[in-house]
C-alpha cells in the first residue's frame, strides 16, 4: 500500500463518526501524578515502564505496531520487549546532559501520569534527587531474587530528603522465584523496617512481573495469595503533592501587575493553604500588611484561591511589597531568615569552594550569601553524618549559610513548598546545589573563622558615604557590599559581610 493510500485509510478511520465520544474524551483528567522510577536496568526498570505504557496508557497505534513488528522479545520469553517503548528516553540518545532526566506522559481514563526517568548509573544521586524533587510518588524497583539492597536504602533516603511522601516498592521478577509469597513477605518486611526512619506517609510493597504483566495493570493469577491493589490501581489512588499541600497559607510574590489605571496586583501561585477575599495578609520581611480586596484571574475574579492556583491579589492598601516577598496570614509567617541550615545535594561538577561567590534562590527571591560553611556530609546508607569542610558532586552536605539580607524561608519539614532552596554560582549563574531548609534563624551570626570581614564602618566611610539610613539606601548599602564581596571572592579571598543591625519594626523578636 502506498503512503498516500495509507493516509487516506487512516484519515477515513480517524474521522469515522466518533463525535459521540468527544464529550468523554475532552473531559479534563482528574489530576496529574508525577511518577519517579528508581532502579537499574537490571531490575527491569525499562520493562516495567514499558509494560505500564502498553497495558494502561493511550499509546498511539503506530508506537504499538513498532513494538509488535520489531520481533524483539523480552529475555527468555515469547512476549514483546516492552522496554522498546522507552527507546529514545533511557538507552538511546545520550545527550551528555549533566543532570539527565527524561519526561514521558501518558493518560489512563482518570489521570495524567508523568513518568520522570533518571538514569540509574553510579552518578545517580544528583540525577535522582533532581528528578525526585518533582515526584508525587516513587516506584522503587527491586529484583525478587535479591530483595532490599544497599542501593534501595540510598534510593529511599534521597526520596525522603527531597520530600517524596508516597513510595511503592515494586518487587519485580516474581516469576523467577516461583511466585513465592514467602520471598515477597520477607522483602516487604525488610522494606517496612527501612521506611520507619523516614517521613513517608505511605510505603506499599507490590509483588509483580513486568515481563508477564502480573499485578502491573492486571491482577495476577499466579499469585492468588496477594489481595492488594495492582500497581496502576495503587498509583491512580495516590494523591499529588499539590493536593496534599498543608493548610498554612503561603504566596510567594513573583511580580507586580499594573493595568495603567488603579489596579496593582501581586502576582503569584498559592503554594500552600488558601486565601479568600477579606483576609489580611502580611509580608514578613517589611512587616507591611493589607486586606485582600480582589483575587484576579483572566477567567474572572475568585472569592478564594488555594494551593496550585495562579492568581493576582489586590490589597486595600498600596504596600511596598514586591518580588521575593512571601505573603502569609499574620499569625503564621515564614521566618525572615538571616541564617539557615540546610541539607543540599551538590549538583555541580565543580566542587564547593570558599572563594566562589554564591547566591541563594528561594521561591521567588535571589539573595547574596555573605558566608557559607560546610558542616558535615550525610551517609545515605546509614543516615549518619560526619564532619566535613568540603563537598563535591553527588554529596549530600549539611550547609550553614548567612544571608546578605533577610529572606522569607520556611523549614522544609513544616512547609515544604517554601522551604526549598538552590545555591547559584554568582558568576556563571549555574545551579550548583539544591536543598531543603532544616533550620532558619532571624538572627545574624558572626562570620566563620578565616574570613576577611567587610565591616559596615569601613563601607560607610568610603564606598557608601553617599547613602542615608532610609530603607532604600539600606538596601543599596547591602547591594554594594555584596558586589564587593563577589569581586573579592573572584579574586580568591574568603569574604564575609558584617550583618546589618536588626531593623526596629516594633515586633517582638521572638515572633
Amino acid at each position: 500500500m502506498s503512503v498516500h493510500a495509507l493516509h487516506k485509510m487512516k484519515a477515513a478511520e480517524d474521522s469515522a463518526p466518533r463525535l459521540d465520544v468527544v464529550p468523554n474524551l475532552v473531559r479534563d483528567l482528574g489530576g496529574i501524578t508525577h511518577l519517579l522510577t528508581c532502579g537499574s536496568v537490571d531490575d527491569g526498570k525499562s520493562t516495567l515502564i514499558g509494560r505500564l505504557l502498553w497495558d494502561a496508557s493511550d499509546l498511539y497505534e503506530d508506537q504499538r505496531e513498532t513494538v509488535r513488528r520489531s520481533g524483539r522479545k523480552a529475555a527468555g520469553t515469547d512476549l514483546p520487549d516492552f522496554s522498546m517503548l522507552l527507546d529514545g528516553l533511557v538507552a538511546e540518545r545520550e545527550q551528555g546532559i549533566t543532570i539527565d532526566i527524561a519526561w514521558k506522559y501518558f493518560d489512563t481514563s482518570t489521570r495524567r501520569f508523568v513518568i520522570i526517568d533518571s538514569p540509574g548509573h553510579e552518578q545517580y544521586t544528583r540525577n535522582m534527587a533532581s528528578g525526585a524533587s518533582h515526584a508525587d510518588v516513587a516506584i522503587v524497583l527491586v529484583d525478587a531474587r535479591s530483595g532490599v539492597k544497599k542501593q534501595t536504602k540510598r534510593h529511599t533516603a534521597i526520596l525522603d530528603l527531597v520530600g517524596v511522601k508516597h513510595v511503592v516498592l515494586a518487587v519485580n521478577k516474581m516469576d523467577l522465584v516461583n511466585w513465592s509469597e514467602d520471598v515477597f513477605r520477607k522483602i516487604e518486611a525488610d522494606f517496612r523496617t527501612l521506611c520507619w526512619k523516614f517521613n513517608f506517609w505511605d510505603a506499599t510493597a507490590i509483588p509483580l512481573s513486568a515481563v508477564f504483566g502480573d499485578n502491573v495493570t492486571n491482577p495476577s493469577t499466579n499469585m492468588a495469595w496477594y489481595t492488594g491493589p495492582t500497581l496502576i490501581q495503587h498509583l491512580e489512588k495516590t494523591p499529588s503533592r499539590v493536593s496534599e499541600a498543608g493548610s498554612v497559607f503561603r504566596f510567594p510574590v513573583q511580580t507586580v501587575l499594573r493595568d495603567g489605571q488603579d489596579f496593582r496586583g501581586l502576582a503569584g501561585t498559592v503554594t500552600s493553604g488558601s486565601i479568600k477575599v477579606g483576609d489580611v495578609v502580611v509580608d514578613t520581611l517589611s512587616n507591611a500588611s493589607g486586606k485582600v480586596v480582589r483575587i484576579a484571574t483572566m477567567s474572572g475574579d475568585l472569592d478564594s484561591a488555594s494551593a496550585g492556583q495562579a492568581v493576582a491579589l489586590q490589597l486595600d492598601v498600596d504596600i511596598d511589597v514586591s518580588r521575593g516577598a512571601v505573603l502569609s496570614v499574620p499569625d503564621a509567617r515564614p521566618t525572615a531568615a538571616q541564617t539557615i541550615e540546610a541539607r543540599f545535594v551538590w549538583l555541580s561538577e565543580k566542587a564547593f569552594s570558599l572563594t566562589d561567590g554564591y547566591l541563594l534562590r528561594t521561591s521567588t527571591d535571589l539573595i547574596p550569601i555573605s558566608a557559607i560553611e560546610i558542616k558535615a556530609l550525610l551517609d545515605l546508607e546509614t543516615m549518619a553524618s560526619r564532619p566535613a569542610r568540603a563537598c563535591t558532586a553527588n554529596d549530600i552536605a549539611i550547609i550553614k549559610i548567612s544571608l546578605g539580607r533577610a529572606a522569607a524561608i520556611d523549614v522544609f519539614s513544616e512547609i515544604p513548598e517554601t522551604g526549598t532552596l538552590l545555591i547559584v554560582d554568582s558568576v556563571t549563574g549555574a545551579t550548583v546545589a539544591g536543598g531543603v531548609a532544616t533550620s532558619v534563624d532571624s538572627r545574624a551570626e558572626a562570620a566563620p573563622e578565616g574570613h576577611f570581614v567587610l565591616k559596615r564602618d569601613m563601607l560607610a566611610n568610603g564606598l557608601n558615604r553617599d547613602l542615608s539610613m532610609s530603607s532604600k539606601d539600606r538596601e543599596e548599602f547591602m547591594r554594594r557590599a555584596n558586589e564587593v564581596a563577589i569581586l573579592l571572592r573572584a579574586a580568591g579571598v574568603a569574604v564575609a559581610i558584617e550583618p546589618p543591625p536588626p531593623v526596629d519594626d516594633g515586633m517582638d523578636p521572638g515572633l
Binding site: D28, G31, Y105, A296, T428, T431
Partner: protein, 301 residues
C-alpha cells in the same frame, strides 16, 4: 472550596508560573510566535499570566515568506485585535540568495530562513529570553529539555551548561553571553493543546479544519498549492481534496491529511482518536536522522 483542579487547570497554572518567573528574571524577553495552535495556546497563557496588565514583552514572528497565506492573515488579525506588539522578521539576505523550500533541501531552507533568521532577530533586538511553545512530548530528543533552556554565546545549545531544575524553583541568572529559551508548555501534550483550545474556545487558523483545497501529491505526501510558487512536476497534477493540517509551517514542507473534520469538535475527536503521532506530518523531521537534535544544537527551537 470548589472541586479539585483538573489536569488542564494544573498545567495552566504551571505555565502561568513559568511566564511570570521569566518575565521577572530576564531583562528583555520576547515571545516567539509561530501562528500555529501551540502558539495560540502559548499566547493565551501569557495573557492570563499578566492579566489585567498588557503583555510585558513583544511577539516575534520569523517569516520565511513561505507560510500559508491564511496564517499571515490570522497573525495580523490576532495582533490587531489583541493590541499586541508584533515584530515580523525575515532573513532578506537568504531570500536574495534565492533559498527556498522547493528547490533546496528542507534542512538548508530551515537553517537559513528559520534558524539563522531567528538568531539575527534575537541579536538585532538584544533579547535575552525567548518564550517558545515546544513540548517534551513532541519528540524523543525533547524529552530531556529544560523549562529554562540555556544558550551559550552564538545561541548554541551546550548540553553541559543545562541546569538541573528542582521543585518549582527556576534559576534564570545568566552567565556572560548567555541567553535562554523558555518553554512554559513543557509538560503539555498534543491532546492537551486541543482539549484546551476547545475548553477556552480559542480561535485557530482555519487550515486546521477540513476544506476542499488544491493539492499536489509528492513523495507520498499531500501538499497544498497555496500559491503559484508550487507547481506540479511531471506526472503530478493539481487536484481538489478535502484536507486539513495537523501542524502548520512553510506550506511546501507541510503535509496535509485527508479529513472530513471541519469543526473544532470534529478535529479534537480526530486528534484524540489519532493513531499516529503528530510530527509525521512535518517533513523537515524526516530529512535526516536525529534532525531535531541537530537543529537544536544549531539554535533552532
Amino acid at each position: 472550596m470548589t472541586a479539585s483542579p483538573s489536569h488542564l487547570d494544573l498545567l495552566e497554572a504551571e505555565s502561568i508560573h513559568i511566564f511570570r518567573e521569566a518575565a521577572a528574571q530576564f531583562r528583555k524577553p520576547v515571545m516567539l510566535y509561530s501562528i500555529g495552535k501551540d502558539s495560540t495556546v502559548l499566547l493565551h497563557l501569557a495573557r492570563k499570566a499578566f492579566f489585567p496588565a498588557p503583555l510585558p514583552f513583544p511577539l516575534l514572528h520569523i517569516d520565511t515568506t513561505w507560510k500559508f497565506r491564511e496564517m499571515i492573515a490570522f497573525r495580523d488579525r490576532t495582533a490587531r485585535e489583541l493590541g499586541l506588539d508584533l515584530i515580523v522578521y525575515t532573513n532578506h539576505d537568504g531570500i536574495k540568495r534565492g533559498i527556498n523550500p522547493i528547490d533546496h533541501a528542507p534542512s538548508i531552507h530551515t537553517d537559513v530562513l528559520k534558524t539563522q533568521a531567528l538568531k539575527q532577530a534575537l541579536d538585532k533586538y538584544g533579547f535575552d529570553a525567548g518564550f517558545g511553545g515546544a513540548r517534551r512530548d513532541e519528540e524523543a530528543s525533547r524529552a530531556k529539555e529544560r523549562v529554562f533552556s540555556f544558550r551559550a554565546a552564538g545561541h548554541r545549545w551546550d548540553p553541559r551548561k543545562q541546569r538541573p531544575e528542582m521543585w518549582n524553583l527556576l534559576n534564570g541568572r545568566l552567565g556572560t553571553g548567555e541567553t535562554v529559551r523558555v518553554f512554559p508548555m513543557s509538560n503539555w501534550t498534543e491532546k492537551d493543546v486541543w482539549r484546551y483550545i476547545l475548553r477556552e474556545k480559542l480561535e485557530v487558523v482555519p487550515l486546521y479544519f477540513a476544506a476542499e483545497r488544491p493539492t499536489i501529491v509528492r513523495d507520498g505526501q499531500i501538499l497544498m498549492q497555496d500559491d503559484d510558487r508550487l507547481q506540479p512536476r511531471a506526472g503530478e497534477k493539481v487536484e481538489m481534496r478535502k484536507i486539513r493540517f495537523r501542524t502548520l509551517g512553510d506550506y511546501p514542507l507541510t503535509a496535509a491529511v485527508e479529513s472530513e473534520a471541519d469543526t473544532i469538535e470534529a478535529v479534537v475527536a480526530e486528534t484524540l482518536n489519532a493513531q499516529t503521532s503528530e510530527r509525521q506530518g512535518r517533513l523537515i523531521d524526516h530529512d535526516q536522522a536525529g534532525a531535531m537534535e541537530k537543529k537544536k544544537q544549531e539554535g533552532y527551537f
